[in-house]
Symmetry: D2
Subunit: 424 residues, 4 copies
């Protein structure tokens, strides 16, 4: 299924008057609204190929129908999202789930949908059917050199697939760790992992980045070998200037101050990118902004401040990705909600009066500092996000149009009800 | 210091045009805006007497000057807040910090400021200079019957003070518990506490309520004897129909779902009231809505839904109180920010399309459920809150006027810089 | 595979001298050691049928070989454990994973191994192949009455299977809840669940118990409908005297004081039983006592104190079960470790000088209270546990003999390497 | 009060027979018991001067009498502890609470008690009476350069006091941070703090170390400027080779894996030392080993492994300190309990069969790994700790003798009941 331009235009025309009224009010309220809209137009968030189907739980899956059955259909799905919001112009692949049989054909298909290939992801946390050695006791950390080599080789292969598709970064997320005290020598696990990462790093093209993702815990675990930003930064620093830390919002211990971590990683020049999602208890991979929207705003507040301080290009110098899982929602609707929430947080952060904030900070006027941030957050910026979508050729209300056009029903017709997407 | 009506009117006149423009937009956006404004006018949040001065930390206090030196000045401070926002028409006293020498005079003074007396609070977590026995090892839980009796007697005395002032509820918060495994027999501690509460309950006038506040932890503690809503509900159920659970937002273990607790307590007819504040790590007593505004909204969402389901009077049938502490802000400015944030959350909760939400819930349309709540939360309701203040005779922007009138500077002039409020 | 008595005797003979030396020292150290040994002999811990194979993670399973392929083989496995430690004389089944085709034959088989049938468990958290309606949006809480009825009917069927096997209790664990704010009306979800539990309760034989298990969270969840002990107690109280709360050690928010919960549930006469395991971050289902052995001891300390206060039969009046999952260990070895750790905690709790503790508590001598508990915990009671096993006909060191006899290797020979147990 | 040798000898003689019996059994059980005893004799734990009196809570203090009123009496108190256990041969001072008027006299007094001066601690988290500028908004992080300079100067003064007393390390713990989002620019706060630390570092004598202590939170805080081991390591790395991270067990987010942090800091050569205590909910500063003794053992397990891997001197190359607070215990008894618990954890860690553990780790034999650690932990090593005390001239049971000699009663007689120690 593809969404024709004319459907979008028709939908926008029908809703334009109401939109314009809101936009007028917003632009009268927000000083730099025009600049914000332009920055929103440029801002793109990569969609992970593994989030296009219903997520698996330890109890099973409850798929909703019409899920993509192939890499081609995954690209088609992201194309649908991007057609609707013009803000999802990239896809992040997971190898081996998404190995292209014909890389050129896949590149062309993506290009037809206006999509780029974002970071490629390796998988050494599952055993594949044809795999010689098991990752039961970890991959890069493994006490067995042959298993470590297998994991290194896999990552190098992922890089090759990425090169063919025009990606320029590799995300390494390991579920290495231990379940019980004593199982692991922490130091040797770190050193084995570092050695493996160094071998992978050596295979990176010169213009590539490596993102070292951290995570505090996995179910059933007692330790993880890339457990927090401190460990990730240690790896990234030892690896070299192409290595960066990747922050997934759900990978922290309770009460962690993620926005401070973001600020410090930017200070160190070692923030690589983001996996957006939200959570209540652990790594819940829920829709971005669904539970803690103010935290999302505070993170963007640090991002804007820190990227500006380093003269970074907001759209290009960091990797922006969603990493979510959907058990009770339509995956595409969920992703549209995530992108919208991220765009709003970004717009609100852009609207913060930074000069006034700096003055208030220098005067220790905490009340005023809070007011400045809250004012930005309490201001309704949805019209700005809609306007950015409109200008870029997307829909004023992507989810509205998604439902209006009965996209899911069409996908079910095309693909069937009992499809299950590859991946998690 | 008192704020004359004319100052407020002048300030409002100066800002009326801008306000009207925002209000017009809001009323065009929010269907039941007129009804919401009326409910906001009726809604009053009690100010705790102990939050009018700078809070104490374990390292000391850093007072900011002009703090109230007496009960009279505390009432004056709350009067200032109420004059500014017309939403703080009650004060909650703490005995023995706030024992009135002449109850009638105090009642009259409060009436002059348009203030009522909310729940009175007992204190059995500190030893007073003239106290016969120490609460070092707890009060109502104590193994020593004489100490338990002293604590019961104190609570009965607090009730008497409350009767004189026209209060109609008692909040019992205990810091009873233990620091080390083995120190306490949990069952006997519960039973002693229950027995003491029963004696206090017996002294309650027929129209009074008793609020049993729970708290998961205190610094240096290993257990608390009224530790969670389950324990509080157990006490309240055993006590009788005048006993209720009081929810303080900062008194929960990490990640607790407070809105669900609120819903279930309402279902049981046992929710008594609230202590509003916000927190990041523990019982931080920070400004309401300063860190987790969406959580505050979700709590009000349950409150509105649950109170409506029981045909409760929003303004009268629950106790609404702030419980905060201020180390780096002007206490009065902080309280104005808290009240504003609470009002906004309440207004947003009132604007939720409940019929649509019920339909979406019945259809398991989770995407739509989220949209309905987020739509209410993302809508800027500040103009409604301002309009309610305006109609009631308060300022369009209470903090703005507070600063404009240099209230703190005036209080420092009147009271001096080195004052320290009694209390925590 | 079965372990002949003679192997066990031979093994014990070989190790008897060393054991006797340790036992002599222990009995000289621990005053009531003989009574403790007798209580240990009587104490039996039920093995869950779903813990006999390698656990599933969201990434897959890494099975170790020789896993039971049928209910018969599961009984055989528990029989092996019980032969080794004489402390695992019960099995807890999960329906529909363990539906017996011939209940009598299964009963006889179990009896041959000296096993009883502990609580039966229903499953409304997964969709079975032949199931009419999906539990995607919950079972007993569901907005759809037909789905609720399906879940009730399933539970009633589970009771029937339990009756046939001689079980006398039903454990109801629901993964009902919600993933996003707004998805659920908490009150209606509670009331639907209560209604369903009441219908199931009505089908209980007069001598049966119903255990209502609570859990604070599931991955991807925002709320759970039986979330904490307070909610479980509310259900159990409304249901009636046959309904009890079941405590699973891994189902609590961070830092929860579980031993206090245990004490209060015993006080209320509403503690039904336990699911033992251990955890670091969440519901990790790791080997009991593997991470927080002192917590396990403190829980048993409350159990012994509270059961004695109510004149309860330690072995019979509560349900003792393990609920664990094994990703990196041999499941049978893991279970032997769990049982041993539980036995030790029980033995240490039995050795606490309760009279001295009560005196110290009454004198607020916290130092002494701590010393009394620590003394019990620091004392090595392994010889007592070994002696209990010896007297009952088990091995002095069950894991030692398990390895000695190459049990796993034999099971792999009998059953093959690529078996996967039914269940989670 | 001083405890004469003869009292100790008499007490030991009275208990020698029972001790010898236990020791004989222990030495027969633990292979390297003689080596362990020798290492225990060498191991000394510094006592913080601020832990000798009853701790302050935010509600007040409940002192127990006989608290030290001067630096001299604090040294006397530590001398008493050291006389009893011969394992507390150092004191850690806090400036300005403990400024000596005559450094030589204090040095001599300490020497008479066999005490050295461990790390000196600065205080920039409280305002002193004579202080020009306030730390209300932080010290080294402050936006005001003059305040930063005041904090730097204070630290340099602390170093001077330390030099006079023969100390060779400075512990810098800051309560710098913020209470509200927006209050602080995280990056600038970090950079200001780093700059200040660099100035202090420049004033360190060549043989000194600087310990940078981290802490995840303070009550009422939203961020801390040295918040976790990652931040501390960043500071320490930028400062230079004399700067190290200091780990306080209570300063972590819920569920943090502290033993892994310890291992990695040792790997990096950046672990400086420890503040021992225990906690349930936050920074509770409870007696070491009172709640999570297995965690304490696991930490020592990493310490022994890591120090051995770097050929470090256990007794000298790291700073071992207690940091606790006592609200319901006699401070001296509490400290004796802490030292004993630390000694036990160290002894158990020394008894781990490291060769077997390494083999099991290399074979991924997780069951065996757990058994090896648990075997060490479950073995009763109290006789080894007692033997070390005996050989060094201390008491077999320090707390027993403390009570036997009525030390507290004597101190109350000498110093009075209403004394309050300076400090927290």
């Amino acid at each position: 299924m593809q969404i024709s331009k004319s459907f979008i235009e028709q939908y926008n025309d029908d809703n334009l008057k109401a939109h314009q009224r809101k936009l007028d009010f917003s632009t009268s309220e927000i000083e730099n609204s025009e600049a914000i809209i332009k920055q929103l137009v440029d801002f793109q968030i990569a969609i992970p190929s593994w989030a296009l189907g219903t997520g698996g739980t330890r109890f099973g899956r409850f798929p909703g129908g019409g899920e993509p059955r192939s890499l081609e259909e995954k690209i088609e799905d992201v194309g649908l999202l991007h057609a609707l919001n013009q803000a999802s112009g990239a896809i992040s692949l997971h190898i081996p789930w998404d190995i292209p049989t014909d890389a050129n054909a896949i590149r062309n298909l993506a290009a037809q949908h206006g999509l780029k290939f974002d970071a490629v992801n390796s998988n050494t946390f599952q055993d594949q059917a044809d795999q010689a050695l098991s990752y039961k006791f970890g991959s890069l950390q493994n006490v067995n050199k042959a298993i470590r080599k297998q994991a290194v080789d896999h990552n190098i292969e992922v890089i090759k697939h990425g090169i063919e598709l025009g990606s320029d970064s590799l995300t390494v997320w390991l579920s290495d760790g231990s379940c019980f005290p004593g199982q692991l020598n922490f130091r040797k696990a770190f050193q084995n992992t570092l050695e493996g990462l160094q071998e992978i790093y050596a295979a990176l093209p010169s213009n590539w980045k490596m993102f070292v993702e951290y995570k505090c815990a996995e179910p059933n675990f007692y330790s993880t070998t890339v457990g927090d930003w401190g460990q990730s930064l240690l790896y990234a620093s030892k690896l070299g200037e192409k290595a960066y830390t990747l922050v997934d919002l759900g990978h922290h211990l309770p009460n962690a101050n993620i926005e401070q971590i973001v600020s410090l990683l930017l200070m160190e020049g070692k923030l690589g990118g983001f996996h957006f999602n939200d959570s209540k208890y652990g790594d819940d991979d829920l829709t971005a902004g669904a539970l803690k929207p103010y935290q999302l705003f505070l993170i963007f507040n640090e991002l804007v401040e820190g990227m500006n301080a380093r003269n970074m290009n907001h759209a290009k110098d960091l990797g922006w990705m969603i990493d979510a899982s959907h058990n009770v929602k339509d995956p595409l609707e969920d992703l549209l909600q995530s992108v919208e929430a991220i765009m709003m947080a970004y717009a609100q952060a852009l609207s913060v009066d930074r000069q006034a904030l700096e003055i208030a900070q220098n005067e220790n006027d905490t009340v005023r500092c809070q007011e400045i941030l809250q004012n930005a957050f309490r201001t309704d910026v949805r019209a700005l996000v809609a306007e950015a979508s409109l200008r870029a050729g997307g829909a004023l209300n992507p989810i509205g149009l998604f439902r209006n056009l009965k996209v899911r029903e069409n996908l079910i017709k095309e693909r069937g009800f009992k499809t299950i997407a590859t991946g998690l």
